[in-house]
């Protein structure tokens, strides 16, 4: 079973204690945006086979949201970090690069898979 560590309260627990919330770092386009932007925000996910950044909520714990970097092909979790950021912190990027050489931020689908 997949294990995650909540960066908000520090608890490490099985996936059943958390609730998945889909892709992280979306730009939330609103009224006045173009059709392309709005479609992208609502429907077009990265859906990579490999490194994926995603939102999780510690539903049966502290209740707070956080982000995780995970490989969708192996379920390996590279690390978790605060949701209060628009892109992954450097140490998360380094942790991914160490395991998936050649991987680059926002070049997700090619990275590592």
């Amino acid at each position: 079973m997949m294990m995650l560590t909540c960066p908000n309260c520090g608890v490490t627990a099985e996936e059943t204690e958390f609730h998945p919330g889909g892709e992280a770092h979306l730009t939330r386009h609103g009224p006045g945006s173009s059709d392309d932007d709005f479609e992208g925000y609502l429907f077009l996910r990265e859906n990579p086979r490999g490194v994926h950044f995603e939102r999780w909520r510690h539903a049966h714990g502290c209740g707070k949201w956080f982000h995780a970097a995970r490989d969708t092909a192996t379920l390996e979790v590279f690390g978790t970090y605060s949701a209060q950021t628009t892109e992954p912190p450097q140490e998360i990027k380094d942790a991914v690069s160490a395991k998936r050489p050649g991987w680059r931020w926002r070049d997700i689908s090619d990275g590592g898979a």
Partner: protein, 414 residues
């Protein structure tokens, strides 16, 4: 192609079965084809079959990175039904179900279609209302379904517990001509027919890139070399997003794992298919006697072809309450498949931003039932550039807000 018949069986019985041939050839790829289909699962092979049968296009290759029918075609719970809510869905699923009726004869291949009937249990007041609505919609669409009371459910499924503590059965949506078929045989039957028409089915051939001249497709790069084509059909279910990216566009799809499991074989106890969507579980009994159980999908993106254990527990716990007699059954096998989910839980059969590239994906948790209809519609789309069955299933419907919203109708399992 040597035809299968009672006479053929008798003849082979007389000579130690030495006269059976391979069902399909395994050729090396040629340099160029009129059309290439990526994905030799049920949908891909059905597409190739109807390209040849309905449109006379037989210079076709079907490329498969693994083995034929080894993806979701071989991993589903083989349920066939067409009791959908929206008109475009009903049209393509009912076309598909009707093609299953004669598939064994059409292909000269026994796909073991068994129209044993499917019940979708209503276990909440909302489901009762939802299924009444679906039954009325189906009546208008010409799809034969009816809403049946609990007593009739008990008559059809004697092993059911109507008065479950958490999930009382309040009725059910019954489609008598729905049922099951042998999933492998569907893929094998189509493969045999395609090979017989001169099409090349190339296994162990992974597509690594898609080559374009401007906005027009010219071919594919594969692990067996470059192959040219005029038209390209991407029919790869869970990996559609990965291939779309190679072609240079993005699809409104997320891939998750959906799992199923089978029990040890037992004596016949249930001769219909029962789906319980409130509790994410459905069950039928195979001809071998195994109880075939399908569960809910994982909540996160996943390409691992296995599911989370807690979803098995969730499914089995609910089914044990509904069918108390299965509580002592041992489970023999469990597996997962990667399903491609769209926002409205309806498929995408569409042209793409790249001229000559067509996609058939997004069947999510319920693609097997659609295999022949999907192939029929996709072939028409690829051959003529348009099909009345696929008009509503464009990949651009999300931008326009023209959803075919089956997620409202079912929410989970299809």
């Amino acid at each position: 192609m040597r035809r299968f018949s009672a006479f053929a069986i008798a003849r082979e019985a007389m000579r130690q079965h030495t006269g059976w041939n391979r069902h399909w050839r395994s050729p090396e790829p040629r340099k160029h084809y009129d059309a290439i289909i990526i994905g030799a699962g049920g949908h891909g092979l059905a597409t190739a079959y109807f390209l040849g049968k309905e449109h006379g296009i037989t210079n076709v290759a079907v490329l498969e990175k693994g083995w034929l029918g080894g993806g979701n075609t071989g991993r589903n719970t083989t349920i066939i039904r067409s009791n959908y809510l929206q008109d475009p869905s009903a049209a393509i699923y009912e076309k598909s179900r009707s093609l299953y009726e004669t598939m064994s004869q059409d292909l000269n291949y026994n796909v073991m279609y068994s129209p044993r009937g499917v019940i979708m249990l209503a276990q909440t007041e909302h489901e009762v209302r939802g299924y009444l609505r679906t039954a009325h919609a189906n009546a208008l669409q010409g799809v034969q379904t009816e809403f049946i009371p609990p007593a009739r459910v008990k008559e059809l499924v004697p092993i059911i517990n109507l008065d479950g503590p958490r999930y009382p059965v309040l009725g059910g949506l019954w489609q008598a001509r729905a049922g099951t078929a042998r999933h492998d045989a569907v893929a094998w039957g189509y493969a045999r027919a395609c090979s017989d028409m001169g099409m090349d089915i190339i296994q162990q051939c992974e597509v690594t890139g898609i080559t374009r001249d401007g906005d027009t497709v010219t071919g594919v790069q594969t692990t067996k070399g470059d192959i040219g084509c005029n038209k390209l059909g991407i029919v790869v279910a869970g990996h559609s997003g990965v291939l779309a990216e190679k072609a240079g566009f993005r699809l409104p799809i997320e891939s998750v794992a959906l799992q199923a499991l089978v029990s040890e074989p037992i004596k016949p106890c249930m001769d219909v298919v029962v789906m319980a969507n409130t509790v994410h579980g459905y069950m039928s009994q195979s001809d071998k006697g195994e109880m075939v159980i399908g569960g809910g999908a994982d909540g996160y993106n996943n390409y691992t072809q296995r599911g989370s254990f807690h979803h098995i527990e969730e499914t089995v716990r609910a089914l044990v309450e509904t069918f108390p007699m299965i509580s002592r059954l041992k489970m023999l096998r469990q597996w997962g498949g990667i399903v491609d989910m769209t926002g409205d839980r309806s498929p995408i059969l569409s042209k793409t931003p790249v001229e000559g590239v067509f996609v058939n994906c997004g069947w999510g948790t319920g693609g097997f039932k659609a295999t022949p209809g999907s192939g029929f519609a996709m072939a028409e789309l690829m051959a003529k550039g348009r099909s009345p069955l696929t008009d509503e299933f464009s990949m651009w419907r999300f931008r326009e807000g023209k959803f075919i919203d089956e997620s409202v109708a079912a929410g989970v399992a299809h």
